[in-house]
Point group: C2
Chain length 213, copies 2
Amino acid sequence: MTITITAFERSPDGGKGLARDTRVRWALEEVGQPYEVRLVSFRAMKEPAHLALHPFGQIPTYEDGNLALFETGAIVLHIAEHHAGLLPDDPNARARAIAWMFAALNTVDQPILELVIAKFVEGDKPWSKERLPLVMDRIRDRLGQLSARLGDADWLDGAFSAGDLMMVSVLLRLRASGILDEFPNLAAYVARGEARPAYKRAFEAQLAAARIF
Amino acid sequence: MTITITAFERSPDGGKGLARDTRVRWALEEVGQPYEVRLVSFRAMKEPAHLALHPFGQIPTYEDGNLALFETGAIVLHIAEHHAGLLPDDPNARARAIAWMFAALNTVDQPILELVIAKFVEGDKPWSKERLPLVMDRIRDRLGQLSARLGDADWLDGAFSAGDLMMVSVLLRLRASGILDEFPNLAAYVARGEARPAYKRAFEAQLAAARIF
């Protein structure tokens, strides 16, 4: 069976690796699974065929035989559960790695997505300039706590896991804001993620898709 | 071994069941596992002992023997994986139920938490009145998609699962806003969740804790 994922036909970031298909590509590269990509236009994402795969009309989706999945977190967890390389064998360590996945997507991503919306959806609103520092401070609160927990460790809990894959992916969206550099251990953590051969292959693959246009 | 979770010593909602410990209580009630609760003050939540359990200084946490977990999604998934009643046996249906958990916490919760922040953190800001309708519309976009997918089904994908538990819990935070009533099938879906005996037991337990003060 062939794994097929979807990605933007034209990624809004022009190939900087911030679209969520990069996270799934990275997971598949870490576990050594080949995959195919179907590029989807913004219009097609809102049409019934794609909505049947993804009720919220987004990318990525994941198809493998009879299984169709949406939600990046669920896709990465599914890959991690079925192939070695992204979750520890010890049951307790495994549960903690999954906790970091949820922490990345629900707790750390929340203020970061607020910043994305503040900039790209509400950037022209009269309150934008005054409100942005509040959003940035909410991100700083979270990053301060994350930085304190990480300390001088390489990864969040022992060896690299799907939890780190997701946390690094979420933090990458902050690079342009400069906030990440206020927390040197987090900046180094993200750089460690990007230095992984599997991440590099995933990044190159999404960039190649973006270069078609 | 005894399962111990943490909850607010004084829940900000005064016992309306919106604090996240209710979600974990509900999951434990669905699978028939007894548990103990340790109430934590706002001050204690930011102190080292609690931060060792929860790096972001929040509730709930989950302790069972040598395992300590944080993040509601991870805790509910852990419970669902170790006890029957919250995930289907079929592997593909199981993966889809987990996808709905992530959808609840990452995709649907995002604009709902924005609304909570807009009301309770930025409610006194000069832009509050003008900005609130934008946030409400972002919620409506998501709920419209969710409503279309649910249709006239009882639950999101076959039988009740941890995905429904999480989605109902996330949607419950919208009740006071009135938005939920704009989508009658979602309002009925949430009511079905609340009508479950396990939810009722969880609700009563968190209410009893709130009534102490």
